[in-house]
């Protein structure tokens, strides 16, 4: 029976959390969940692991397919291409398209014997020479032939790849591109792509709209490209190259009547071309109009534009052009610019908008995608620069991706292990709230010690107090932040790897939560270079199964630091992250820097002032919950932040010559710091200061 009285209660529950079992709980997380925002972070990490594993396997397969043998090294020519995941397609489909594009890029970059341009170099320079009947403009013909060659080249790559095992995802990328194509074909590039890439996928004439010229052109192009493409299937490499060359020449020749004419040629030749006339005459529209010439495409010449990506808004105002007054061009220009502004995205801190990204992916099909490697997240960070002043700045964060390099790992592991063994025994103190039973002290005549014997309730006779005790195991958060800008040389980077590796190993199977990151600036996506924090290890972000597995991330570190760091912004972001992550437990913050502080936000403060302000602010908020150590690499004089750190260690340039030794010293200093902290905590508890 239904609960008819439920109305009121359900309305009350309206704002209450809904108990919901995410799909990942019953169908497991797959690569498609890797870039979603809503599943729990543990599922996202699992999904990302699967996604990057699939990408790695596909790229390895592509490398094998291109070199006809196992690759010498597992270093790839390209990074995972992840832009399709941020476009508008369904997540799972888009994720596999990313895998396919990554594999394609790896194949294309590591392949040279299939490069068509080297075989038909002379033809591409002046195709008119090889096509005596053509009266097309030489430069337009050359451009068309180049366009066709590029498309056929890519299709040939696809044919080779789909014959190789483990590269099925490349086909998914082709499907992704097909799905993202415009609903209406407008230019020659789209015609060539429809004929070469998507002849077996797209509906065909439905995409030409009402344009009979484009319809005719497609009718000519399809039957020409298809036999060549079919013959490529199952062919040897040399046969594929031969078929591809023949296809380029045949297709370019067939499409050349739709190009602008050479200056000497008869402008009406297009309309008199037998092929065009036959094709146009057979269309229903043309028949209806008595088989007359084709309808113009954008212009009144019957010529198809080569690659004007899409019609500009101004070009679409044809009706207006007819009725416009003399001042119309300026107005049209103004409106065109206005419409461009109305649909553009300026913010760099946000993800690229899906529609814009999708268009970029279609326009640059099979090319490097605008987002590569790991997902980058934009953050707007607020830093307080004094009592009444705060500034905001933007930075990005991402996790370093693991690098499969067994030899490098075998080299790093023993170095880190020796240091980790020394650190492992170090106790990390924290405050633990321990319930302690208190003896009940009655105020009257009853002997309190006898009362429990009467089997009364324990709740009555036992009282508890929550006493803070130093926790030997501890659950502190250890944050290692390292300035990895351009001044960070190879030896310092080695030191960082050993140090971070040692901490990763020494905190395995403990409750210590490690956050390690480098900060500098770097490329975020195409044309965007900004302050960047890269996580070496973050329990909720690093797609690693264990901390030892996470050491593979350290192998991805560049040999030298790059870019220019934004100290205050990066430190503020990292400390905020550690604060949120630690949930009230102690934070041990270690900053490794050359102490050349950069300005991060606008204003008259120096870089050192900004960092000092950030630290002061956080110290004020966290009080005694944060211990900070500064490791000033090669700093001989002052750091500029005296008194703000609990401990300072300034290894000299000479000491830095030996990375293992200096990392051991840093680790030792940290251990001392922790031991001292532990002792202090005990003292405080014993003296009753900490209640």
């Amino acid at each position: 029976m239904l609960n008819r009285k439920a109305k009121k209660s359900s309305l009350e529950k309206l704002r209450h959390p809904v108990l919901y079992r995410p799909k990942t709980a019953w169908a497991d997380a797959g690569p498609g969940d890797a870039f979603k925002s809503h599943p729990p972070w543990s599922d996202i990490i699992r999904a990302q692991r699967k996604f990057y594993q699939a990408t790695h396997e596909a790229m390895s397969a592509a490398a094998r397919a291109s070199r006809d043998s196992a690759p010498d090294s597992l270093d790839f020519f390209t990074k995972p291409q992840i832009a399709p995941a941020f476009a508008l397609a369904p997540s799972s489909f888009a994720a596999w398209a990313c895998v396919g594009l990554s594999a394609y890029r790896e194949f294309a970059l590591s392949n040279d014997d299939l490069s068509l341009r080297q075989y038909i170099h002379k033809y591409l320079l002046n195709p008119v020479e090889y096509d005596r009947d053509s009266n097309a403009d030489a430069s337009a013909y050359s451009e068309l032939a180049g366009m066709v060659a590029d498309c056929v080249q890519k299709r040939a790559y696809l044919k080779v790849m789909t014959q190789s095992p483990g590269l099925e995802s490349v086909e998914t990328y082709r499907l992704f591109l097909a799905s993202a194509q415009d609903r209406v074909i407008r230019n020659m590039r789209q015609i060539v792509e429809a004929a070469v890439f998507f002849a077996d996928l797209l509906p065909g004439e439905e995409l030409t709209g009402e344009n009979t010229v484009i319809k005719s052109c497609l009718r000519i192009a399809h039957p020409i490209s298809t036999p060549y493409l079919k013959r490529m299937h199952g062919a040897t490499r040399q046969e594929i190259v031969n078929e591809a060359i023949a296809c380029v020449k045949a297709l370019a020749k067939a499409l050349s009547p739709f190009l602008p004419k050479a200056a000497h040629a008869d402008l009406n030749a297009v309309k008199q071309s037998p092929k065009l006339r036959a094709a146009a005459g057979s269309s229903p529209q043309a028949k209806a109009s008595g088989g007359a010439s084709a309808e113009p495409c954008g212009t009144n010449t019957g010529i198809i534009p080569l690659k004007s990506d899409v019609k500009t808004p101004m070009e679409t105002f044809e009706g207006y052009k007819d009725s416009a007054s003399a001042d119309s061009p300026s107005l049209l220009h103004e409106i065109t610019a206005m419409l461009e502004r109305a649909s553009e995205q300026k913010s760099i801190i946000d993800d690229p908008r899906g529609d814009i990204l999708q268009r970029q992916l279609v326009d640059k099909a099979f090319m490097e995608s605008p987002i590569q490697g790991a997902q980058v997240t934009g953050h707007s960070v607020r830093i307080r620069l004094g009592a009444n002043r705060a500034e905001r700045g933007d930075l990005f964060s991402r996790t370093l991706r693991p690098r499969e390099a067994p030899e490098d790992l075998a080299e790093l592991l023993p170095q880190a292990q020796s240091l980790a063994d020394k650190l492992r025994k170090v106790l990390y103190p924290s405050i633990e709230m321990v319930p302690q039973a208190l003896r009940f002290r009655g105020a009257g005549q009853i002997d309190p010690q006898r009362l429990p014997l009467a089997s009364f309730s324990e709740a009555v006779f036992k009282r508890y107090e929550i006493a803070p005790m130093p926790d030997l195991r501890g659950r502190p958060t250890l944050l290692i932040a390292c300035d990895a800008s351009g001044s960070f040389d190879e030896k310092r980077m080695t030191m960082l790897k050993i140090l971070a590796g040692a901490w990763l190993l020494s905190t395995t199977r403990t409750d210590i939560r490690l956050l390690a990151a480098i900060y500098h600036s770097g490329p975020i996506r195409r044309r965007v270079n900004a302050p960047l924090v890269q996580w070496l290890y973050h329990p909720q972000k690093t797609p690693a199964v264990t901390k030892v597995d996470a050491m593979k991330n350290l192998l991805s570190l560049p040999k030298k630091g790059v870019g220019k760091q934004s100290d205050a912004l990066s430190i503020a972001f990292l400390l905020e992250e550690a604060k949120n992550f630690s949930k009230g437990e102690n934070i041990y913050f270690t900053l490794i820097s050359d102490c050349k502080w950069n300005k991060a936000v606008d204003g008259d403060h120096t870089g050192a002032d900004e960092v000092a302000a950030v630290l002061k602010d956080l110290r004020k908020k966290e009080k005694d919950k944060m211990r900070a150590t500064l490791v000033g690499l090669g700093v001989s004089g002052k750091t500029g932040l005296e008194g703000l750190f609990d401990d300072e260690f300034l290894p000299s340039e000479q000491e830095l010559e030996n990375p293992l030794e200096v990392s051991e010293k840093i680790a030792g200093r940290l251990a001392m710091q922790l031991r001292r902290r532990y002792r202090d905590l005990w003292r405080e508890v014993e003296s009753g200061q900490r209640r």
Binding site: W26, A178, D182, T312, E315, R341, G378
Partner: protein
């Protein structure tokens, strides 16, 4: 600064004006006056702020998001030609559900890219997110609740939020989009309904829904949004014991795997497609034309292979629904 007019209503009227002229441009019937109008619409200050207009899309979207109760959302999408397309709506983000809900579509440009009737990817607070669409259910809900136009908007919202955060929130998932497109392409409503029933059994907190289920909600799936499998389950749910409710997801998972296998067979079935026509698997046709299902619907030929896979999928869908509902009945009889 006091605003004289509801800024959202003002924005809506501007967007409607833009769409009218866009239509004229597409039909090539726009004149000089239309161009002037278009310029005025794009330069008109909004939210009583001279710096805000359609020409500053990011600032405008942020202003809309902050307006009123913070539940409005403006979306701008670049069109292949002409002015951008717009969506202006009201949204709600229930705690604990993965998808924010679109409660009302105040304005949707005719060419605004829409992949699915149930889900829509919208750019909100710096990233693209999937939203669950309930705006199409607004009118049926209004009719169902017998609320006359212009009144009881809050009641409709409440009903849709309850629906979206409990039953539809569990029954629908963005991963279903390709399957729903396949169902639309080959006419398989049974498959969509079976899939939603299984997702509901697997994702919902059935015990919580059982305790709070209203007659009205159950009736909604009979009269306003006909969904026989969901209606069948919901009607029986309040009488089920905790043990029976607990057993449902296990059964649903087994059926889910069977249904997924049948769907895979359909995707692998071949039909004549392309230029020149050659045997092509359904999955290629489907995924390559996800945004053009309407265009290819009439063109796809049902081969013997497809017909067989289709039959199998229909049988699997019916079996999945029957098994779930029968098991519910069996458990009810044993109580």
């Amino acid at each position: 600064m006091r605003m004289n007019k509801n800024p959202i209503a003002e924005l809506q009227s501007i967007l409607e004006g833009v769409d009218k002229i866009t239509l004229k441009i597409r039909e090539k019937s726009a004149g000089a006056k239309d161009m002037d109008k278009l310029r005025n619409l794009f330069t008109k200050p909004l939210f009583d702020n001279p710096a805000l207009s359609l020409q500053t899309p990011e600032d405008l979207c942020a202003a809309v998001r902050d307006a009123e109760n913070g539940d409005h959302l403006l979306q701008v999408r670049k069109a292949a030609e002409g002015p951008p397309s717009y969506f202006l709506g009201r949204v709600y983000s229930p705690i604990g559900l993965p998808y924010p809900l679109i409660l009302e579509g105040i304005h949707r440009s005719p060419h605004f890219p829409t992949l699915d009737d149930s889900f829509e990817k919208l750019f909100d607070r710096g990233r693209e997110k999937w939203f669950m669409r309930l705006d199409d259910l607004r009118r049926p809900t209004r009719n169902f609740l017998q609320i006359i136009d212009g009144a009881g908007s809050h009641d409709v919202d409440d009903f849709l939020i309850r629906l979206g955060s409990s039953i539809l929130g569990a029954a629908r998932h963005e991963d279903q989009i390709p399957a729903k497109k396949a169902a639309a392409l080959l006419g398989l409503p049974e498959f969509t309904q079976a899939m939603e029933l299984l997702y509901f059994c697997l994702s919902a907190d059935l015990a919580a829904i059982r305790n709070n289920l209203e007659t009205k909600t159950v009736d909604f799936f009979e009269n306003a949004l006909p969904h026989a499998p969901l209606h069948g389950l919901l009607a029986r749910l309040p009488s089920m014991s905790g043990k029976a409710v607990d057993a449902l997801p296990h059964q649903a998972l087994a059926q889910y795997h069977r249904l997924a296998a049948a769907f895979r067979d359909l995707l692998d079935a071949h039909t004549e497609w392309g230029r020149p026509p050659s045997p092509t698997p359904v999955y290629k046709i489907l995924y390559a034309n996800l945004w053009r299902i309407d265009l290819i619907k009439k063109q796809i030929k049902e081969s013997d292979e497809i017909a067989r896979a289709r039959e199998k999928l229909i049988t699997s869908s019916n079996t999945a629904v029957d098994e779930i509902l029968k098991s519910v009945l069996r458990k009810l009889n044993t109580i």
